[in-house]
């Protein structure tokens, strides 16, 4: 705890988080806004970060954890280097998103909602990004692939994962 406190303190992101809380006057009802900001800054909400927020806003840590775990957008674990989101809105489902989803699970050895073993790829399911006219949609690292097929998605993912391996060498 002590160590991560220091790590938190020495971080520029922490200053930005502090500024956000100050802007909301450390109000208890700004918790969701603060969690949103924290996730934007850090990418996910780990235990230390939640404890830090709970102390700053004078809220019980159980309350902060309760809120963070209630909402789907908050990630409590570190996501992989690459992120793929499969939209499972009604339109995408009707147009075969499930098939794409299971194909990714099979080919890249990752389960929905989880990150694969070597921390390279996280697979998430989202409920409708609202681009229903071009369903099914798959979002790879923030880029929307419309009218997706499992082949296109698989190619795009393989390319991403491979490039990184080459870079690492």
């Amino acid at each position: 705890m002590e160590i991560s406190q220091i790590a938190l303190k020495s971080d520029k992101r922490q200053l930005m988080l502090e500024a956000a809380m100050k802007q909301h006057q450390y109000r208890k009802d700004s918790l969701i806004e603060i969690l949103n900001t924290a996730q934007e800054l850090y990418g996910y909400l780990d235990k230390d970060l939640l404890l830090y927020i709970s102390r700053s806003l004078h809220l019980p840590s159980s309350h902060v954890y309760g809120v963070a775990s209630f909402y789907n957008l908050f990630k409590l674990r570190k996501p992989g280097v690459h992120m793929v989101n499969v939209c499972m809105g009604t339109a995408c489902y009707v147009k075969g998103a499930e098939e794409i989803l299971s194909a990714i699970e099979r080919e890249f050895n990752v389960r929905r909602g989880e990150t694969n073993v070597n921390n390279r790829l996280s697979l998430f399911v989202t409920r409708c990004i609202g681009a229903c006219a071009m369903a099914p949609n798959v979002i790879v690292n923030g880029e929307v692939i419309g009218k997706a097929t499992k082949e296109v998605v698989a190619n795009s993912l393989s390319a991403l994962l491979e490039v990184r391996i080459v870079e690492a060498r």
Binding site: R27, K28, D29, S30, L31, I32, E33, L35, N36, H63, G66, V67, F70, Y71, N72, L73, F74, M88, G89, T90, A91, C92, Y93, V94, K95, S102, T126, R127, C128, I129, G130, A131, C132, A133, M134, A135, N137, V144, G146
Partner: protein, 551 residues
Amino acid sequence: MKPDELKRIAEKEFELRRSYVHRINVCCSSGCVPFGALKVLKAFEDAVREFNVEGKCKVARTGCIGTCYVGPAVLVEPGDYLYQSVTPETAYEIIREHVVDEKPVKHLLYANEGFFKKQLRLVLRNAGKIDPFRVEDYIAFGGYSALLKALTSMNPLEVIENVITSGLRGRGGAGFPAGLKLSFVAKAPGPPKYIVANLDEGDPGVFANRTLAEADPHSIIEGMTIAAYAVGAEQGYIYIRGEYPLAVQTLRKAIDHVGSIGLIGRNIFETSFSFNVELRLGAGAFVAGEETAILASIEGRRAMPRPRPPYPASSGLWGKPTLINNVETLANIPLIILNGGAWFSKIGMPSCTGTKCFSLTGKIKNPGLIEVPMGITLRDVVFNIGDGVPEGRKFKTVQVGGPSGGCLPVELLDLSIDYDSLTKAGAIMGSGGIVVMDDESCMVDTAKFFTEFCVDESCGKCTPCRIGLFKMYKVLEGITCGEGTLEDLTQLEDLGNFIKEASLCGLGQTGPNPVLTTLRYFRDEYISHIVERKCPAGKCFKAQRKEEVET
């Protein structure tokens, strides 16, 4: 802001508009951006410079035109020439031929007139024609003049009376008379009082509210401010889904903008009325759209509904009287104030006035965003506006009202779209989603999909919803894996009706609808799954086979 300043801004904007011949509106909403709309926008700007027609032609970034299936869509004024599937290359072609040579590029024009013919665009009147990032655009189209009229020539009671006369009902799904709700909050003791605009459009397959926010954010803010004046609220919150980054950005900018020119803030139009708006972001909880859950979420807590009464109108945010309205409801209010409640009451049908925005998606030729008068038939929407299902397939069902709506069969296509008819048929208006399915969709699997969604999104507070829906899901899973029995069907019906009766909030009260309606209209599909172990659409029984292979 002073009252006459509004007119001045509008005139200045008109002058600007008169200075060029053509205006090129490039749709850059969430639907068109993935198709490359931003590249097209840049291509237009480059082309205008290259052909040296900067003085003659204005390129504008706008919101949704509605024809999402042929994006990026570009609307060229005057004449409202709508170009479809524009690419950076064809953008050059349009500038060269349409702007320079004054000849519309025929082969790129959108040819399907049926899509717009049966629509009536009131709430979306500005969508696709104004730049959502510029309040001046909105003002030039008559924006904020309803607010001026309300504040300077009407008292709050007159505003409420107009809304009551209009017959406007809540567009969030439940259809509660909007005028009545206003009068409840107006009568409640205060200050403080609050107003909440609900933009937590969590239903998968629905994007009508988001598109409104992206295309015309000021219509929401103006409607909200008028409603706040009517009930005596000084603080408003727009609660928006965190999954809508562009809508968040658009609204945030719009709020800052009106704040800076004094259209909201202290003493609006030099009256004693002051009003502020804040944006609150959701974080991915479908149940947060429920009116007591949204309050909990704004207060920074888990979005869990609570029993009513007390209703939010008497005890809402921080225990104070609060008006909660869907953003589409609010966007109707400026129109009612400008044209009068009596004018509005003649649109649509007598028991259900006005229009409704729908996102039309699924297995349909023309998916997109539409606005239709209340009382139009489902057939008109699916076959005239949407142009039916793609070639070679057969229409099977239309699902109305999001995940907790109902699946209606071909026999009910002549049903009119209004709150009462839809509820009677087992569906709901919901927040405006129409999903069409063809014979490739299995109704049991579809019911399972929606039930799974509701199981995921149940907040867990009350038992019927938390455990009941899960039980229903398990039974459906059994049927799709080939383990179903005929008794399962009775069990599903019993469970479904019980959950509807006993749940605390709208999620549980409507969650069983997909199962109950498919049981009502597509029972033979369930039976063939159970008796013949066959899925007519060829979707089911795969899950089990997959597991067998793995083990």
